[in-house]
């Protein structure tokens, strides 16, 4: 691991066994989680107040969404494998698994773009939809859009870590932190998936 800012005369402290980088990442994840909590709570508020809500089976192609979810969760598995390999300093496996995770992320984004454009074609937009429940489109596109931008930034981070791994400049902790963020993005999707497509 790279040296800390602290000079040799101060021992680098750990908090619950974590370096400051990991502590910072965890706190960031909590704050980012609360951002989604704000969105999802608002969505719950609107759902509770709404008299009608479109039937999910009518709006979505649930088999397609399940496939999207499967892709994203699989990418979490490959990410976990990459982190485990990084701990063993197995650079080749890290590189391969990061690449697989990267592909999973890009695939998810492509599928989401396809889903959105299908909905647009059916007249479901941010502000209006055939069922005349504007709140549905308001929340659906805002929240899945926000999640999508998180996946996108995750993909960018994965790309950087992947390039570093290839060059041999990545650190074990760097891979682990990227992994933490990626798992977080996947976890948020589980909530989005449940609350929009299932409930």
């Amino acid at each position: 691991m790279a040296s800390d800012l602290a000079l040799p005369d101060t021992e680098p402290l750990t908090f619950l066994g974590m370096s400051w980088r990991k502590v910072m990442m965890w706190i960031f994840i909590v704050t980012d989680g609360l951002l989604f909590a704000g969105f999802l709570a608002s969505y719950g508020f609107a759902r509770a107040a709404a008299t009608t809500w479109p039937d999910q089976n009518e709006v979505f192609h649930l088999w397609f969404i399940s496939l999207m979810t499967f892709v994203l969760i699989s990418s979490s598995a490959t990410m976990a494998t990459a982190v485990a390999a990084a701990k063993r300093s197995d650079r080749q496996t890290v590189s391969k698994m990061l690449a697989a995770t990267f592909v999973g992320g890009v695939l998810f984004l492509g599928m989401q773009a396809f889903e959105w454009s299908t909905l647009f074609a059916e007249g479901v937009t941010l502000v209006s939809n055939p069922w005349n429940v504007p709140a549905f489109g308001n929340y659906f596109f805002t929240i899945t859009g926000f999640h999508g931008t998180h996946v996108l930034s995750g993909v960018v981070i994965l790309g950087i870590v992947l390039a570093r791994t290839r060059r041999g400049t990545a650190t074990m902790e760097g891979v682990e932190l990227a992994g933490l963020y990626w798992h977080f993005v996947d976890l948020v999707w589980v909530f989005v998936f449940t609350l929009f497509y299932l409930v």
Partner: protein
């Protein structure tokens, strides 16, 4: 981003700390990564914003005192806002909005949390810098555009945002609702979003630095209360701000993308039916106050922590009930997250829900009272030295008490429905979020000025400043409590047309304004003091007050890297005054336990 770049950057910073090589002016004072420079940048920025906020308050006072008198002089300065010699109502609502926004986000928060937080955290925990200096620098350079955006909103068409610092929809959600609801409101939202980004970057640094970069021996329960309060304030800020970000995103979409998150069906603006439907303005109130209430404690808690540190130094007594105080700070923080509804008693909520929020709010008085009593008990039997810093700290206790009593009335749903949106509320929150924080900011300024700038502020001017701050403050905001009880609503630009206020209108607004003038004169003493001191030679010793905490080990001002070659090692708690095993009246945190047995 990934950690590779962080570690490279961290390496750069540690090399800089080791070799102390000369940096260019730009790197040293402008785009500095040194927490002390960043802290001073925040502090001075806050001072400028405080003056701007005070100027806006001055215009508000003039309007409330002489609403029917033509003011040709102001018309010359602000030809649009004072067209015909009278302030336009739109300008008045912009003034109260921007006064609140600037004072809360860009004055108190920048001064107390970002300014003192940056300057003091590494010094008081014994670190060489923040955990992530680049992020720290970015945190300052995100605030600068935030301020420019906020300030520029006065010059756009329609003027600055006019929906209050709380930005309630539909006024804030429909661009055509009022002149300030146009571009001004959009700029307001951008400024607040940038502020949140900056606060998040700062907060991440404060918390990780306190958790991970403490000096050897600096256990959590040996940290000064200033650090405890900054830690807890940063944590609640980090938890409470993201939902406001979410709320702001939804509001921007409502304004510019045609969504209806906050807009119900059947809303008429200027006689025209809006196409929106399905939303609720109450949603914004919930999201806003979920931040808004904890935000009060983000600002109040550091004020209390600073007060403790100043009090013990000048009373030469350990802080009374250190551990209890820490746990009370934690309790206040926890409770502050679940009482946001007490800002919404008048919104038509279910009385049972109101009861929940009332009880939660009144529960906060328990830890708050304990802290207040601990502060007073810390003075008991002490050898008080009434320096300017100590006077301001004692003033903080008084304001905390007065503000707290007002809070009892407002936290009670039944009383609040009468007092809601009156000048009583304005008086109350100015004692708390305005007064407690302002006095603590000044107390800390007098106390740490020698450390920050290597010079001692003039005490005579300081004492004049104190009396001309505290007495007028009671005059201004005490009077407002009574004006509110007489029924005066807040945010109204002309209160002369309501007959029921005739008896108080003859004197209350004028008295308030006269006290405000006195307070401004008092602040002039401070500015003169600052200017005189900064122009004088450096004369401050390393530990001018005989304090025990770590920042006083470093030289005044501390060099880059803070400690020279050897970082301090901590052997005892922060407040060992009157240690029976020592002949001195206090034992510094760095004195080894072999020399003087440690008692904390």
């Amino acid at each position: 981003m990934s950690s590779g770049s962080e570690s490279e950057i961290a390496d750069d910073a540690s090399v800089a700390a080791e070799s102390h090589h000369e940096l260019s002016f730009l790197r040293k004072y402008v785009f500095s990564m040194d927490h002390k420079v960043i802290g001073i940048q925040f502090y001075l920025t806050a001072a400028v914003m405080g003056l701007l906020g005070a100027a806006l308050a001055g215009l508000i006072r003039i309007q409330l005192t002489w609403p029917t008198t033509p003011l040709p002089l102001l018309e010359k300065i602000f030809p649009v806002a004072y067209a015909g010699g009278f302030m336009s109502p739109e300008f008045y609502t912009s003034l109260v909005t921007m006064h609140g926004t600037i004072m809360i986000f860009f004055f108190v928060s920048l001064g107390l949390v970002s300014g003192f937080g940056n300057y003091l955290i590494p010094l008081m925990v014994g670190a060489r810098d923040m955990a992530f200096p680049v992020l720290n620098m970015l945190s300052y350079w995100t605030i600068v555009p935030a301020i420019l955006v906020a300030a520029s909103s006065f010059f756009v068409e329609g003027g600055a945002a006019a929906s209050g610092w709380t930005a309630y929809p539909p006024l804030s959600a429909v661009p055509s609702a009022s002149p300030g609801s146009g571009t001004g409101q959009t700029l307001w939202l951008i400024a607040v979003a940038l502020f949140i980004v900056s606060f998040t970057m700062g907060g991440l640094n404060y918390v990780t630095t306190i958790f991970n970069l403490r000096a050897k021996g600096m256990k959590l329960m040996r940290m000064p209360l200033t650090i405890w309060s900054l830690l807890i304030a940063s944590i609640i800020g980090l938890l409470a701000f993201p939902p406001l970000t979410a709320a702001a995103v939804l509001l921007l979409l409502d304004r510019h993308m045609g969504t209806s998150f906050y807009l119900p069906e059947g809303l008429y603006i200027a006689g025209e039916l809006l196409p929106n439907g399905g939303g609720s303005p109450l949603l914004w109130q919930h999201l806003f106050w979920f931040l808004g209430h904890p935000e009060v404690y983000v600002l109040i808690l550091p004020a209390l922590g600073i007060t403790f540190d100043v009090l013990v130094t000048f009373a030469r007594r350990p802080a009374f009930g250190y551990r209890i105080t820490v746990w009370c700070l934690v309790a206040i923080a926890g409770l502050s997250m679940v009482v946001w509804g007490h800002h919404m008693f008048a919104s038509g909520m279910n009385p049972l829900v109101g009861e929940f929020f009332s009880i939660g709010t009144l529960l906060i008085t328990i830890p708050s009272t304990v802290i207040g009593v601990n502060m007073i008990a810390s003075l008991w039997g002490g050898k008080l030295r009434l320096t300017s810093a100590a006077l301001f700290a004692i003033g903080t206790i008084c304001f905390f008490g007065v503000g707290g009593f007002g809070g009892l009335f407002l936290g009670n749903a039944a009383a609040d429905i009468q007092l809601h949106d009156t000048a009583f509320v304005v008086g109350h929150f100015h004692f708390m979020i305005g007064g407690v924080t302002f006095l603590a900011l000044l107390s800390g300024s007098y106390y740490w000025f020698p450390k920050m700038f290597g010079r001692m502020l003039n005490e005579t001017l300081g004492k004049l400043h104190f009396w001309l701050t505290v007495v007028p403050f009671y005059g201004i905001f005490g009077t407002m409590h009574f004006y509110g009880m007489a029924g005066a609503p807040r945010r109204y630009y002309n209160l002369t047309q309501y007959g029921f206020l005739d008896s108080v209108n003859t004197w209350m607004p004028l008295v308030t304004t006269l006290f405000a003038v006195a307070m401004m004169v008092g602040q002039a003493f401070f500015l003169v003091n600052l200017a005189k001191t900064l122009m004088a030679k450096k004369n401050a010793p390393d530990n001018p007050w005989g304090a025990t905490t770590l920042e006083w080990v470093a030289s005044s001002p501390p060099p880059h890297g803070n400690w020279g070659p050897d970082a301090p090692v901590v052997h005892r708690g922060p407040y060992e005054y009157g240690n029976p095993d020592s002949e001195e009246d206090c034992v510094h945190q760095t004195v080894p336990a072999e020399q003087v047995p440690a008692h904390s």
